[in-house]
């Protein structure tokens, strides 16, 4: 098995995943969707297994190889979350993200051609960044849901409270996981897991803001008032993601390359 066969396995898996997700939306019986998605996962995992068997080490060394795992894991996480919470859109979303990574692997197998500096060449790079992006997507969805709930009259929020809390809890899980993977990576690359570098400071602010929301009910903050924390926290998130390099403190950052 080698990378030249990747396209057949990847195309097969993606076709199964797209049709499976479509079946979840269209068909009353979830069985077909489940079968197709599980089939896609098995097919993709089979490629990794065969590739692994044909090399003398696990395929985890190059960027292309880590993207391979990510393409599979994102669908696994999306599917597991779907099974638990029945959010079809999350399943659809994870298949789209997986497609992006499969395409990158097909069109640009080695990211090294774009002069990746040595510190970025780590197995933590891909999971750290992608888990964060996943979290950002869920927090974005939660922010929209919170604004809709605030827009509605009091008492008419319907199912929104439960949806918002699920999104924030799951999104926060990803946020913390991304942050901790970043800490492990920083230890490997620079000898220290946390240095209060500007990007880290803002990641901390973001996480702490969401923690205020998670604990708000204990301070007797009414639910609707607590919802206001969500857009505020999202502003912090946007600053962390896109804004840090424009701040005056950014000159002190090791995160801007």
């Amino acid at each position: 098995m080698s990378w030249s066969e990747f396209i057949y396995f990847a195309a097969g898996s993606l076709i199964l995943w797209y049709n499976g997700t479509l079946a979840l939306y269209k068909s009353k019986n979830a069985l077909w969707g489940n079968l197709l998605i599980a089939g896609g996962i098995l097919l993709f995992a089979a490629f990794i297994g065969l590739l692994w068997a044909s090399m003398d080490h696990p395929p985890l060394r190059t960027m292309g190889e880590t993207r391979l795992w990510y393409s599979l894991f994102i669908v696994l996480v999306g599917y597991a979350t779907y099974l638990r919470w029945k959010y079809k859109w999350l399943m659809a979303y994870s298949v789209v993200v997986s497609t992006v990574f499969v395409l990158v692997n097909l069109l640009k197998p080695e990211i090294h051609t774009t002069n990746l500096m040595p510190a970025l060449q780590s197995i933590w790079f891909v999971p750290h960044v992608t888990v964060y992006i996943l979290s950002y997507a869920m927090m974005g969805a939660a922010t929209i849901a919170a604004l809709i709930a605030l827009w509605r009259e009091e008492g008419k929020e319907g199912e929104l409270f439960a949806l918002i809390d699920n999104l924030i809890f799951i999104g926060f899980g990803f946020l913390i996981a991304g942050m901790l993977m970043g800490a492990i990576w920083a230890k490997e690359a620079w000898g220290d897991y946390w240095t209060w570098d500007p990007k880290e400071v803002w990641a901390f602010i973001t996480a702490a803001s969401y923690l205020v929301y998670l604990h708000a009910s204990y301070a007797n903050i009414p639910k609707r008032k607590a919802l206001l924390i969500i857009p505020l926290a999202f502003i912090m998130l946007i600053i962390t993601w896109l804004g840090v390099e424009y701040l005056a403190v950014a000159q002190e950052s090791i995160h801007s390359y």
Binding site: G173, A189, I205, A208, V212, H215, Y218, V244
Partner: protein, 376 residues
């Protein structure tokens, strides 16, 4: 009912005032003493502090001190540390992370966590509390080990020439070499580089063309590409040891039928660079090759007699006893011909509890996927 909620209001205000008082005391200390010297937490102070914090878990939850472990208090503290961090993230050159008010808030958070863990332990039900415990105990462990624990961290920088053994290094921010508990023999330093690239440059500003959307061509023999209307071919590329890389290129302008050719080189510490002039304003030049990977083949000796052979690379430190050896730098003027390697040595005795805390919180974050926003 009204009386009960009034009582709650009173505790809330008392807690708020307490936190405010501690924070103000922090500011006062900051004024009088100045920046907090983290070294005061060095062993055994940090372990005593950790034990005292853990002892808080045995305090009765209904006592005045025990109430400090409430969810209300956690919200006040989280808001407070967020505000301080926003200042840290906005104002250049601040030293909030080494300030007394910040340290006191951090301390109160650890106390709040210890108290709330203690309360949950009193009637622990695995199914109900596992998520809470993973998150809060993991975080507690992480905060203790990464906060006061980090005062025991030592880091040094050490420069070693190929074929030599070195045991003297410099501490952080100090220039005076001192003897270290570790020696390193450098057998070999080696480096891989990305190909240098050909660029069209504005001589006055140094900007690569086309401006705003520069295009560059990899210096690999036989490569061709287009830069701002010029078709550029790399005819030969030479890169010998100790010599600067150089390439013979031919550039053809499609409109106007002009052809230019000649040698370009980025130069190095000993040799001047050379460019191929296009006009008064523009020239073709070569960029410096960027490092792709650098590593050192070393033997590390510790005072306790551990001897460890291995290769140290960026992102792949070598562990010897409680020390980790990181590839830090090299003689950047010599680039891949460097015969010197610079290492960072880190001694971090609390790294195990830090990783344990990280793993617990990671497991805790997995429980969040499963449980979602469901309240117990």
């Amino acid at each position: 009912m009204a009386g009960k909620s009034k009582g709650k209001q009173e505790t809330f205000i008392r807690e708020l005032l307490f936190i405010l008082a501690v924070t103000i005391a922090g500011f006062a200390l900051q004024f009088v003493i100045g920046t907090l010297d983290f070294a005061i937490f060095a062993w055994p102070v940090n372990i005593v502090l950790a034990a005292l914090l853990l002892a808080l878990a045995f305090i009765k939850p209904d006592s005045a001190a025990g109430k400090f472990g409430s969810g209300r208090v956690s919200v006040i503290l989280l808001v407070s540390i967020t505000v301080m961090s926003i200042y840290m993230g906005l104002v250049p050159g601040n030293d909030v992370k080494h300030s007394w008010p910040f340290a006191f808030t951090y301390l109160m958070i650890m106390a709040n966590l210890a108290l709330t863990i203690g309360r949950r332990m009193r009637n622990f039900k695995l199914k109900r509390d596992y998520s809470f415990m993973l998150n809060h105990f993991g975080l507690f462990l992480l905060l203790v080990a990464a906060g006061p624990g980090s005062a025991d961290m030592h880091r040094y920088f050490i420069r070693v020439a190929e074929g030599q053994t070195e045991w003297r290094g410099e501490g952080e921010g100090s220039q005076t070499p001192k003897e270290l508990p570790l020696a390193i023999t450098l057998n070999d330093f080696s480096m891989e580089e990305y190909s240098p690239r050909i660029a069209l440059i504005d001589k006055a500003t140094g900007e690569t063309q086309p401006s705003g959307k520069p295009s560059l061509i990899d210096c690999v023999e036989g490569t061709e590409g287009i830069i701002a209307g010029w078709s550029v071919a790399v005819d030969t590329f030479e890169y010998r040891p100790r010599m600067a890389p150089r390439a013979y290129i031919t550039a053809t302008r499609k409109a106007g039928n002009s052809v230019l050719s000649g040698w370009v080189s980025c130069g190095n510490h000993f040799q001047p660079f050379s460019v191929l002039d296009v006009s008064e304003k523009l020239c073709f030049a070569m960029t410096f090759p960027e490092p792709k990977k650098f590593s050192s083949d070393v033997i590390v000796y510790t005072k306790s007699g551990v001897e460890k052979k291995g290769v140290v690379e960026v992102n792949k430190p070598l562990t010897a006893g409680s020390w980790k050896v990181y590839q830090y730098s090299y003689d950047t003027r010599a680039g891949r011909d460097s015969e010197i390697s610079v290492f960072e040595l880190v001694y971090d005795p609390w790294i195990i509890p830090v990783y344990a805390g990280i793993i617990l919180v990671m497991l805790g974050s997995l429980t969040l996927f499963w449980r979602g926003g469901k309240k117990e």
